[in-house]
Every structure is written in structure tokens, then in C-alpha cells.
Symmetry: C2
Subunit: 133 residues, 2 copies
DNA sequence: CTATTAATTGAAGAAACATTCAACCTAAGC
DNA sequence: GCTTAGGTTGAATGTTTCTTCAATTAATAG
């Protein structure tokens, strides 16, 4: 919520024919309610997930792990993305933080797999985004 | 796809008990297939959508428009986010490019509404992300 | 036609991000 | 024990991405 309400008043005058202070107040309230519909914590968490996904390296890793339907070793994932070992580790760590991937140590190897959240998101993206744009 | 296959060879030796060159080749192939499962164009488009959403201002706008279930005037949206008019315009333009929002001019006002794609994505995010993280 | 208002555009500085290098930790192997 | 290999961490840098300011377009009002 923020900023000058002058323009909004003129807009409501246009829409409603007339406009009193309380009309502006009411509309601001409605808009505020829409904005706050989910808590700030929820929105913050969703933004974290989106930020984690919106990077080519990380998104590729998620896609591959979702597609694999099984856990993959870091050394296998390294064959799939074009970053250093360190970069790969940073990427996986960000995905773990976002709850998109889970890691497990297995002897001297470390394996990662996609979470249900990752599967759900990738599925929707595939379904609602067509390549021609 | 990239990088040294030495570690992968050793990993496969561990997993399979033995490992010939062709085993490494085959595994690299499988991984490559996973990575290429969707075309590059598709992945690029999905990344564009994710990048558009992964910003507080833009995500808030999408959430409000999805929640409103009707078109809202720029001057109304301005009451909801904390950026300049110019910033708001840039944000809306990015959302249009990503196919998350559609704009329509109405006299001297301009109105935006959420697309189906936006509704689908917000719905899944709400469903799969819980606030406590 | 001029002035005003709604909104957009481009450029530029500031802030956030991603990637790498180097150092490090841990588990196995000798 | 020592060494090697898999993987992670933190700091630094180079690149993107935001946000703003100033100028601009388009529509209405006078």
C-alpha cells in the first residue's frame, strides 16, 4: 500500500459518476484486502521459491531431477549443467533452501532428488507455458 | 551438458561394480536426454515467466490481479505497490511480455487483468508452498 | 490550439545476483 | 597416520536487474 490517492479519486469519479472521500477510502480498503489476502510470510516464501527457480542453471537441475524420477549424484548433475563444481554446489544449496530439492549423503557420494513441490511447479509450467514467446 | 567425465566413471564403477567406456557414454546419453526432454525454446519461455514473477513488486501485482478477478486500473494498482509510477509501468510491461497480464486502454485510463497462466501459477504456488520457511 | 492528466519509454546509478577461485571439511584408501 | 577424492563454503568480481528521473506520447478538457 502506498502513494497519492488523487488520481484514484478522479478515477472513481469517472467510474461512479460521483465520489466522496469515503468512496476512496472504501476502494483503498478493498485493494488493501486483496494485497493482504495471503500473509506476508506466505508471499515471502513463494518469492523465495520463484527466485530459486528463475535461473537457468538451477531450473535445469530441477527439470532434470523431476524428469529422472530418482535421485542423482552430484557428479551426474555436473554433466548436465555448465558451471564449476562450486557453482553446482551453490545452486543445489539454493534449491534445498527453497524446498525444491533434497540431498542425502551416501558414502563418499552425495545424491539429490526433486521434492513434490518441484514436481508440481514444473508440471504447471509445462502445462501453461507454450514455447512461442 | 559439460565437463569432465572422470568422476562419473568412478561413480558408475561404484554403482555397477564395473564400468566400461560405453557405460559412461550411455549414462551421459540418458542425462542428455533428460536435459533436452523439453526444447530449449520451451525452457527459455518458462524461465522468462519465472523471472517475471520472481520480484516482489511484480508478484504482488499478479497476486492482486488474480485475486481481484477483474481488470484494475493502473491508478488502482499504484495504491498497492510501493514504487513510482514509472516503476509500476515497467513492472506491468514485464508481466505483459511474460504473458501473465493483459492490458487494455479505456479512454484515458489503462486497465490490466491477469491471464489464465497467471491464475494457474498462483494457484499452484499457494497450494505447494507453506509459509514456515 | 493549449494545457493538463494518465501512462509509457529510455538512460543511468544503485542494488542484487551468479559465478569463480581458493580454502576447507569429510570419508575412503593405502 | 597420510593422501586422495567428492563436495561445500566464503569472499571477490563481473554481470544482470531494479528503480528512479526526465522526457515523451496520447487522450481529454478548456
Amino acid at each position: 500500500m502506498a502513494q497519492s490517492t488523487e488520481r484514484l479519486r478522479r478515477y472513481l469519479e469517472d467510474e461512479l459518476g460521483e465520489c466522496r472521500s469515503e468512496d476512496v477510502e472504501r476502494r483503498l480498503d478493498e485493494l488493501g484486502t486483496l494485497e493482504a489476502a495471503l500473509g506476508t510470510a506466505q508471499v515471502g516464501a513463494e518469492l523465495d521459491v520463484l527466485s530459486a527457480l528463475s535461473n537457468e542453471t538451477r531450473y535445469t537441475l530441477v527439470r532434470v531431477l523431476v524428469g529422472a524420477r530418482e535421485e542423482l549424484c552430484v557428479c551426474e548433475l555436473h554433466a548436465v549443467v555448465d558451471v564449476t563444481e562450486s557453482g553446482l554446489s551453490h545452486a543445489l544449496s539454493a534449491l534445498v533452501d527453497a524446498g525444491l530439492v533434497e540431498g542425502r549423503k551416501d558414502g563418499r557420494w552425495k545424491k539429490y532428488r526433486a521434492t513434490n513441490r518441484a514436481v508440481a511447479l514444473v508440471t504447471v509450467l509445462d502445462g501453461s507455458v507454450s514455447p512461442d514467446e
